[in-house]
């Protein structure tokens, strides 16, 4: 487990209250150290930002004059573009560093790249990296005035995805304490699942289930406060929310499932399974969706699916996180 401290001081971590009485979030690296009031504050703030996308001028001047850099060492479409849109809707100047074509490919070390970006007076790095702990490493090696946002690091964490997922869930089920949530699929390789489980536990969802073949459920997962199921039908029964995960073939170094067809039969969300959900139950997916492997097109495009709302909500939630991380330190 990382030693990430999202707060400025240890006292801050001990004295968890809402954001108004706290100093800024210096970095947004992981979700497990956030308090429930702080998470709810972020969701409330995102609710206000959601309206900006509906304005004729889709922009507010909050981060005018700030420079934000997307530092992506791994492929991404949704996360990268929604961070970019979020920053632009806050009026920040925005740079996309495509690491494939950058100086790191010519032999420059990561720290040298960071120093150069610092010299350009950037204010925030949004980092995606295939190695767990990369965002934390960067946060410890940049100037104190620079905020680092974790946009996904290895199998470790994807905290902004978890925030937008619980924001989407709250839209449909405002009382977290009354719902059953199931996460289905490749739990083992999923940073989304790990962050989401922490977020759901912090907001006190009483029934969190993880469903998948034994090979894709981490040993001891029940110690995270979730109930493991290998039977999909049993696991999703009466759930209000089912979150389908992508099979992360790129992170699999051996065979974890017999074949994709068999996987779809056992764990794919087909239209018949919709009947097992609670009334008004919703189906989510962080994307990219592999149709016919973890979810059928009928379900992905059907009335229970909120997959595209998740994408829209991602902009508002990321606007909230960017603005809170860029807040002034109140003791200065």
């Amino acid at each position: 487990m990382s030693e990430i401290n999202n707060f400025d001081t240890e006292e801050e971590k001990d004295n968890k209250s809402d954001i108004v009485s706290q100093k800024r979030l210096s970095h947004f690296l992981d979700i497990e150290y956030l308090s429930k009031p702080l998470i709810l504050d972020i969701l409330d703030l995102a609710e206000s930002f959601a309206g900006v996308s509906g304005q004729p001028v889709k922009k507010v001047p909050l981060l005018r004059g700030k420079t934000i850099v997307n530092l992506f060492f791994e492929a991404s479409t949704r996360t990268r573009t929604t961070f970019e849109l979020a920053a632009k809707r806050l009026s920040a100047d925005f740079l996309n560093i495509n690491v494939d074509f950058s100086a790191t490919k010519k032999g420059e070390t990561l720290l040298d790249t960071l120093r150069n970006l610092e010299a350009m007076h950037c204010d925030m790095f949004i980092v995606r990296h295939p190695l767990s702990g990369a965002a934390e490493f960067i946060s410890k090696n940049v100037s104190p005035n620079i905020s680092v946002i974790n946009a996904g690091d290895g199998r470790h964490a994807h905290p902004t995805q978890a925030m937008l997922d619980i924001f989407t869930i709250r839209k449909y089920f405002p009382d977290f304490k009354k719902i059953k949530v199931a996460i289905v699929g490749d739990i083992l390789h999923s940073r989304v699942a790990r962050s989401l489980i922490h977020a759901l536990r912090i907001v006190e969802v009483p029934d969190i289930r993880v469903i998948g073949p034994k090979t894709l459920l981490p040993n001891g997962i029940e110690h995270m406060g979730v109930k493991p199921y290998v039977d999909m039908d049993e696991g999703i029964k009466n759930c209000n929310v089912v979150i389908m995960l992508r099979l992360q073939n790129e992170r699999m170094d051996s065979s974890f499932i017999p074949d994709e067809h068999e996987y779809y039969n056992l764990y794919g969300f087909n239209p018949k399974r919709t009947d097992l959900l609670a009334k008004n139950g919703i189906v989510m997916h962080p994307g990219p969706v592999n149709r016919g492997i973890e979810i059928s097109s009928e379900v992905a495009d059907g009335e229970r699916s909120v997959i595209l709302q998740q994408v829209s909500n991602g902009i508002a939630v990321r606007m909230a996180i960017l603005s809170l991380s860029m807040q002034p330190q109140r003791d200065k």
Binding site: D44, A50, Q55, V57, K59, V60, P61, L62, L324
Partner: protein, 168 residues
Amino acid sequence: MKYSKEQTQELLQKIENSLRDHLLKNKISDPIIIGVHTGGAWIAEWLQKKMGYEGKSASLNINFYRDDFSRAGVNPKVEPTAMPVSIDDKHIILVDDVLFTGRTTRAAINEIFDFGRPLSVTLVVLVERNGKELPISADIVGEKLELGNDKNIKLNGPDPLALEIIDK
């Protein structure tokens, strides 16, 4: 010092009467009433009902348009902006509880223009106090007050609405 419910009601009545005169004099019909969260939104809703307009008044969360983000940050506890109708080519009645430095009004006008191009904006405030920092004046004022720098004005509400002068 606390204003009674009746004293606050008198000020509200005064701005309602002045607003009716203003609309008549300027031949404005069907204006859109917009209140600034939180106190201004309460007064806007009160005016909306008293003037007999349909629906709810609009409201602004000027949090994202403030000029002091680098010092104060954002407050997540403020209600979101609600602009239920188009403001293009409409007369706007912008309502706030207190006009002090003028910075809130400046932010509110900026936000309004991100929703469209109104024909005019009329500023209505319950109280105008000393301390102006920008060239912004209200068109309709309930009461003008001279207060020391150590004092703040607070509007309690929404029902009943009652003004209070408090120590900072």
